[in-house]
Symmetry: C3
Subunit: 267 residues, 3 copies
Amino acid sequence: MKDIRTLLQTIREEKPLIHHITNFVTMNFLANGVLAAGGSPMMAHSEEEAEEAVAASAALVLNIGTIDPSWLRGMIAAGKKAKEQNIPVVLDPVGVGLSRLRSETVRQLIEEVRPDLICGNAAELSYLYEGNWSGKGVDGELDGTSAQLAQLAARKFNTAVAITGEQDYVSDGSQTIAITGGHEMLAYVTGTGCFSSSMIALFLAKGLETECSIVERAAAALTMLGLAAERAIETANGPGTFQVHLLDALFNLKSEELTTASRWSEM
Amino acid sequence: MKDIRTLLQTIREEKPLIHHITNFVTMNFLANGVLAAGGSPMMAHSEEEAEEAVAASAALVLNIGTIDPSWLRGMIAAGKKAKEQNIPVVLDPVGVGLSRLRSETVRQLIEEVRPDLICGNAAELSYLYEGNWSGKGVDGELDGTSAQLAQLAARKFNTAVAITGEQDYVSDGSQTIAITGGHEMLAYVTGTGCFSSSMIALFLAKGLETECSIVERAAAALTMLGLAAERAIETANGPGTFQVHLLDALFNLKSEELTTASRWSEM
Amino acid sequence: MKDIRTLLQTIREEKPLIHHITNFVTMNFLANGVLAAGGSPMMAHSEEEAEEAVAASAALVLNIGTIDPSWLRGMIAAGKKAKEQNIPVVLDPVGVGLSRLRSETVRQLIEEVRPDLICGNAAELSYLYEGNWSGKGVDGELDGTSAQLAQLAARKFNTAVAITGEQDYVSDGSQTIAITGGHEMLAYVTGTGCFSSSMIALFLAKGLETECSIVERAAAALTMLGLAAERAIETANGPGTFQVHLLDALFNLKSEELTTASRWSEM
């Protein structure tokens, strides 16, 4: 297991620019979260500036939460440019099974952009892998097999996969890490799932010196988020204060506190 | 008067999915508010997925706060599908008298969708009813006649009407309830008006077993919001902490605390 | 130096309506900030209602943070109408050097709308003035010459200019004020730059009786924001609580506390 504390320290020094084409609902939270964790956020969706925005960035998040056809064009243009320049792309297939628009959008993004990592909950990854959609609330039920799902989906799509839930899993098809931590209050704040993708993009940012694999980097991101959630809940009285304290905890978390001990298990 | 405590308990068990086509400004707050109160929020505006998104939902909110013609198309498609499937539709005619675009949008939504409830402030409902627009700040002045306005507008548009202000009123033209409670600090947080519509949609959600009428369900939603506001203000130092504590209070409010006593008067 | 305390008092009495065509990321924060400071916010971007929305307003903010061509059309229409009616226009050229879309948008807005004030950081104003783009993080480095940059840019574009950073500068080409205050935590909350423009628009609102010049009014706005930030940091534990307490501080700040003493220096 590699030293993820140095990785966080490097992120805080470099403040990598994390570009997002994401949904309207959680944009503000993602921007504040990336800032608190140590990066620089950017949001710009217009096809007209897609290539220039990507060229200035160290990672790209594509999130389909409030997708429509005009935003998809910006995503494709930005995604292709990112891959050309070896800038990591994280795809968040929010609610992929809800509609043909969403499943078709994700199919097109996977084929044309070839993201480096797909991050979603078990329902979303299961739909992507099997084509069955069981919708909201399914995370818990599938948790026993999420490790296998992450592994199989990673092989099928030839990309890394992160599945978030009570326990998180990251796999590239051969290396698979299970991460414990976090708190159930995360489910009562909108955008904490989206924010997992932003955190992963921050830890995958181009140009960071590290010996960690992509799976370890993504697992480090989710570990940091889980640890911050555990601290936030200590002083929270509900989901309102929890969200605010989560930003404080991300900001105050020292890199030496980011440890894999008793949190990671390789499978 | 029916038992609204059981209604809230049922909502928390069922966690109904409340679909929104709403404005950019308050989306995040509405999503967090619905989660805190006990429901599941969804936001998706694209005409391409309007019908599928509605089919997965238990209620639909249409809010014209940052309307433009492309979003109106999604609203019409979603609204028609909802009515087809007996999914309740709440219309929030934000700033309807500001422009021809808005008044024309609302006219079209009322005619083509036939919402189950229209929720706005006295200025908005007065404009809808009479065609006169006196704009911001008018709530207070009209408060004496808001009960009558709710009743007349409900009859004119053949729908339930909720008028929010210092005192709230809900009417379906025959049954009319006045609700006291809340706090003036609500006026210093953007989106608390929009959130009234989301709360009402949550309490009107399809599939909830209850003996309450639509007027009583909407009144229960506004009662819960008022009660949460009163708790939030106790620990708030201004509008920033008030908003955060409001989410906490919605989350922590026990269903047995939701009472109509000394809060409701039938008129 | 004029009495800026009376100006704030007048704002709180009049509650001027500040219209925004701005970015998706920070809209909610700007609306809550304007409310907390004492104004009424409005956001509406559609070209179809641009003129009517402006006609109801006392100031207009144009912010290109998430610009695309359809929003630019609304900005041009709203901006022209504002100038026709002597409603002050504040332009925030967010990330102007990032792309051709942005630099072309700003060029067009300056030429066709002729804003009353341009508010940005040193990197943005430097790009506008010199056409060189050095991007993120440049504020600090340029700070020594920001006073001069504000002055030169004001003359070049025949408008007032505000440059925000560790120290803020406002100039109309002849009168130049440097403002100290604020806190570095402002850089860890998304939208505090955008909010500077909203605050300035609030203090420039049409119809406020004051003997202050435009430069003094803008400087008063930035003084209030800095003072609120200093109070917010006292009780904050990180960027999450800081943002929330900033809204509280804006709301609680008494007009008699707004002083230029030891904060302003004319240059």
